[in-house]
Subunit: 256 residues, 4 copies
């Protein structure tokens, strides 16, 4: 696999869909919210991304079946009071290298533009490093009109006190160059555990903005599942370290 590839699983036609992105990130806040949205609203997967820029590994599921690193596009038609269509991107990995991140985000944007996307929301967490009271939701956007809409929804504007690293930021930035507008919503979180409360706060603001309704009762349950997945990932990381210790041959880093 030399290039990122998108496999389209189902031919669909959408009417001016809103694009929502939530790849793995801080406290899994965005991912948790988007996975929940997909389940509760019954979104359908219609395309998937495989990329040499993802980590070179597989996960193993509960049944022992290997799973590729993947990003998945789901769609929803005619949701909420405004009968809007949606494309939701979730997955288990982001690009590793800077160049890989740019290539992936560029590929993703060109793909969703083909379905008529003109606006997007990227979802993430904002790590504050200490326990939060009530989890606030912060936002940034590609233009002033959207900033005003975020303010009306009670979202705090993140002004000049930080930036956005990874796909959630880069999709907005590269989107601007492709005439796409949008906002990044970030749920405040301590940052060091899977934060279902931050995801719930984030989801409430998102549903207000999208004019849809989503039941959040099962979000805690989902957070528990995510915690298990994270634990798996951490064990894999430990395995990498062990592997490195255990094998003199493949832990050679070229230096000079």
């Amino acid at each position: 696999m030399k290039d990122t590839q998108i496999n389209v699983l189902k031919d669909i036609s959408l009417d001016n869909p809103i694009f929502i992105e939530a790849l793995p990130g801080i406290g899994h806040v965005g991912k948790l919210a988007a996975d929940h949205m997909i389940d509760e609203l019954g979104a359908t997967k219609f395309a998937e991304i495989y990329s040499p820029h993802f980590p070179p590994q597989v996960f193993v599921d509960e049944d022992g079946i290997v799973e590729n690193m993947i990003n998945e596009f789901h769609y929803l038609k005619s949701q909420g009071k405004n009968k809007r269509d949606f494309i939701i991107l979730v997955g288990n990995a982001q690009g590793l290298s800077p160049e890989g991140q740019y290539e992936l985000c560029d590929t993703i944007l060109d793909f969703v533009k083909e379905y008529g996307v003109k606006e997007m929301y990227t979802l993430g967490g904002l790590a504050i490093g200490h326990p939060t009271g009530e989890s606030r939701v912060f936002g940034a956007a590609t233009n002033f009109e959207i900033i005003e809409i975020l303010k009306e929804a009670g979202i705090e504007i993140r002004s000049a006190d930080g930036g956005i690293v990874g796909a959630s930021g880069l999709l907005l930035g590269l989107g601007k160059l492709k005439n796409l507008d949008g906002a990044c919503l970030m749920g405040e979180t301590p940052g060091y555990f899977i934060d279902a409360e931050a995801a719930e706060s984030l989801l409430k603001k998102l549903t207000t903005l999208l004019n849809i309704e989503i039941n959040t009762e099962k979000l805690d349950e989902r957070a528990e599942e995510t915690r298990k997945m994270i634990l798996k990932a951490q064990q894999m990381e430990q395995e990498i370290i062990n592997r490195n210790i255990g094998s003199g041959e493949d832990d050679l880093r070229y230096i000079g």
Copy 2:
């Protein structure tokens, strides 16, 4: 060398061969088992891989002869009760960068598919970080049918408690995308030494699955040889560190 290249040394024709991979990894468990299998059954090398994604170095053998970083394909015809053909991939290196790993695994799979491969076993070690009693063998697979076959062979299914990093995992993952099925077998090992016992446990399960017989008497001897090779690799690593210390000029890492 700008791209990975495969040199075919011998034109062969195989009948529905099973592909077995065992590149360097944790405790050299897989490599030890596969190298032993090649020797005991008299497999013949028929192709080799050189790649710019391997570490930029050579090894020096017992006679002072330099050896390239290499992956080597061997074949066996009409083995065991089922008269099956095999392709076995071993070597002294894996790709260093994520993109390099993807490119190599993709190239390997396309190559073995040309010989009619439809199923594969990837061999590795599972580091547990402390001494093992009897070394167990763990497995993961690309589908449920193979999971059942592994269970029948007394292999413990690795469920949701970890992933598989490097070629052993990626070959299965990318294989799924190419309609290849298979399993990864992992011999439990402390992870910090060359583990002939883990390799023997692994080999026993593998021969059961493959319905072939392999004498494991000389495995200890082989482990001793591997230990020497590892020692060589560790000294080389020390050399890299020394090199870096000794040369102000080539230890410059660009940061900004």
Copy 3:
């Protein structure tokens, strides 16, 4: 975005312009000086660079609007006693990888050559790690004639006691290969804060060399703004660290 792209915003024609580069670096000395020059002399942006070699992130401005990583070309016509034209390159990022730095500097040089550039000044800081008295300005150049000109301007020649890392050095080096001449001017700075005094010293030498006049009164104010921007960047860095801590999934580094 697979390649660096230059967007030309305005068609202009320049007469033998002098190219001035000041991308982010030590103490932001060069950037501060060049940003001030652009503002005071009213330079006009005419082209911008986006690149997959920049960090994969966006900044957020005072109003919550996301800003891409970018390099920007500005021009000035008929400045100073010699009525010279100028192209000034500033921005918020440099390339991350060595290959990315080479590709960017090569692209930049080819671009400015199209406008008739034959000479250039690259601006930077020289970190000495302790407080400076009066900030001296050091220089290096592509030929002896320019070295003499620097000496006449009271610039201390940096001889064999160091090198120049990043765009300020590489532009001169690659420029030599393209028959461009020039000098790097480095304002002495402790290196660990935004140094308006070093920028002022640098700007005074630059204006002497260019035979132009620039009011430096507002430089302190600009330094304060830059300090805020830096603080933002540092918080973002902290965020990356937190993100990594908070998410087991995306802090996997492939090792073997």
Copy 4:
């Protein structure tokens, strides 16, 4: 600069030349020996390599003139009792990335093959981490015939106790794939200073093998010069660190 480029400065014709490589490495043993050989025998530069795989920086010489990272080919005609021609490769940098090292070594080998090269010697240091008595010279080779020649010259064969990292190893390895033969000679050195004695020992063995004579009186003087160059490089490294500390903006490493 997107690719490695070789600039040929002078059209020459050589008769079955021997290729000698000595790029920066451990204790600068090889570089010191080769630079001395070039000076003492009056070799002429005829080609140079620039590459985006070199560090993105320039050096500054005694006069303040910037110098690109570079590899340089020199030639000698009709040397010693056997009237042999030589190509000698020296420089101030090696490739940084593994892929860059492979690309550079491949390019170098293809280039010297055009001049009729069939054999080569790569020169380096062997760091032992503690003071040496009399500096021994170790060797490894691409075939048994050369191993015998090395032994006859009093060179100790490095057998299975290490490998060779970087250009000195990779040129031999890739050379084997291109039907070039050769040896790597490594001067034993503590590894943490510029080792003129190790270079002298190395040069004595090399001249024996090549059947030429080289006066080594000025080698100490050259070592002193090299020490200054190294000091410059170390200061540059410190500068990189300072730069990074001093600039919040460009020390962002993308992690997730």
